[in-house]
């Protein structure tokens, strides 16, 4: 670009401070842009994508392969009645829902990483294409050949919208290679001409294209942030049905609210056994309860 300006008899002082450091200033300006706008590393994002997908898969496949939660619930429903029995079954249902929701929403996290990857890969390629295509035009203009119709691929605003539209469900992320996100971008990348056929218009065209590209990058990242906010809101709404509650007092033998009638064998009349259960409950609590507090524990030698 500097050679083109000099060839056109112009002072290549791109920052308005004529001195001998102009070429360094230009190089530094490009470096700063690169540091600011290329700080997300696609290789690191690809590693993260695989790790998060593995975490999702492990949550679903490895947490309860023998269906301990389901068989416990079946057992309680089949043989035990009462409010504590219902509370345990509700608790175990919430655990099952929790495992499913954790799997699904961890895959949404992987989708966010996949979208960041797609934006960054396409943005970097677009930046390089703009620089190289502009350099070709600068070279052509410096040799008095004008602009021969050189084009570059510009990433537009709809990149993330296209990716979100292409992914039908988070389950599909489980088998999706991160590079497949790049194929979902479709018409969000457009072929554009390098503007200008003379030195100043080429410089102005480059600056304008670069600013558009950076704005598009920021906008696409903002769209990922907005999408994540929506997913987090959905996830938050699921809290009441997918986070197991603390064990209620009616189901806790340490509590005086526990009764045999709360968790009664289906072949029994609760009243026949309630007094003995209460007697044994009290003895059990006395025998198993620990002294409260650090001082009491130290006095007790524990």
């Amino acid at each position: 670009m500097i050679a083109m300006l000099r060839a056109d008899g112009l002072d290549p002082d791109i920052v308005g401070v004529p001195d001998q450091e102009d070429s360094d200033v230009l190089a530094k300006s490009i470096e700063v842009d690169a540091e600011q706008y290329m700080s997300m590393n696609p290789e690191r994002l690809a590693e993260e994508y695989d790790e998060i997908r593995r975490a999702a898969s492990n949550t679903k496949r490895l947490t309860d392969p023998d269906d301990v939660v389901g068989s416990t619930k079946t057992e309680i429903e089949a043989w035990w009645t009462g409010t504590a029995s219902v509370a345990f079954c509700d608790q175990l249902t919430a655990v099952e829902s929790c495992i499913d929701a954790q799997h699904e929403y961890t895959l949404y996290a992987a989708q966010a990483v996949g979208m960041m990857f797609a934006v960054n890969v396409k943005f970097r390629a677009s930046c390089v294409d703009l620089m190289e295509s502009t350099a070709d035009v600068c070279d052509s203009v410096a040799r008095k050949l004008g602009n021969t119709g050189t084009r570059w691929s510009e990433v537009g605003l709809h990149l993330i919208g296209n990716v979100i539209g292409a992914i039908r469900s988070p389950a599909s992320i489980a088998d999706l290679a991160i590079t497949e996100f790049l194929g979902m971008i479709g018409k969000a990348v457009e072929s554009k001409p390098v503007d200008g056929a003379e030195a100043i218009p080429v410089v102005a065209g480059y600056n304008s294209a670069r600013d558009r590209l950076f704005a598009s990058y920021e906008d696409n990242l903002g769209q990922i942030g907005d999408w994540l906010a929506g997913i987090r809101s959905e996830y938050s709404d699921l809290a009441t049905t997918t986070i197991p509650e603390p064990v209620p007092r009616i189901a806790d033998v340490d509590s005086p609210d526990f009764r045999y009638g709360n968790f009664v064998y289906s072949g029994h009349h609760a009243a026949d056994y309630a007094p003995e259960v209460e007697r044994e409950r009290r003895k059990y609590v006395d025998e198993t309860s620990k002294p409260d507090g650090v001082i009491a524990q130290r006095l007790g030698g524990s």
């Binding site: 593995r54 999702a56 416990t72 929790c98 994540l228 996830y235």
Partner: protein, 97 residues
């Protein structure tokens, strides 16, 4: 009081078995937590706000996932302990505790 009966004893044994097995579910559910919390991005110098914002949003979300997984694991263990205690009391009533 009539004797609790063989069926009662059998089902108390089953409750004990499930109370022993449930903590392993909690342990395995805790497995991915470290991965979820490791991935909070560290801000870098000269980073534009749009990058910082999306990394923050992602880090907050994965922290929320990890936190819920931790709570669920703790409550599975508490459920197992509650079932264990009930079975222990019922064993005594059955004269086997």
């Amino acid at each position: 009081m009539p004797p609790p009966g063989q069926g009662f004893a059998t089902q108390v044994s089953e409750i004990e078995r499930h109370a022993r097995e449930l903590p392993s579910v909690a342990d395995r559910l805790r497995g991915p937590i470290a991965v979820l919390t490791e991935h909070t991005a560290t801000p870098r110098p000269l980073q534009i706000e749009a990058v910082s914002a999306v990394e923050r949003a992602y880090g907050t979300f994965t922290d929320e996932l990890a936190n819920r997984q931790r709570i669920a694991s703790d409550r599975i263990v508490a459920t197992a302990e509650a079932l264990h205690d009930i079975a222990a009391v019922y064993r005594r009533v059955d004269g086997q505790g």
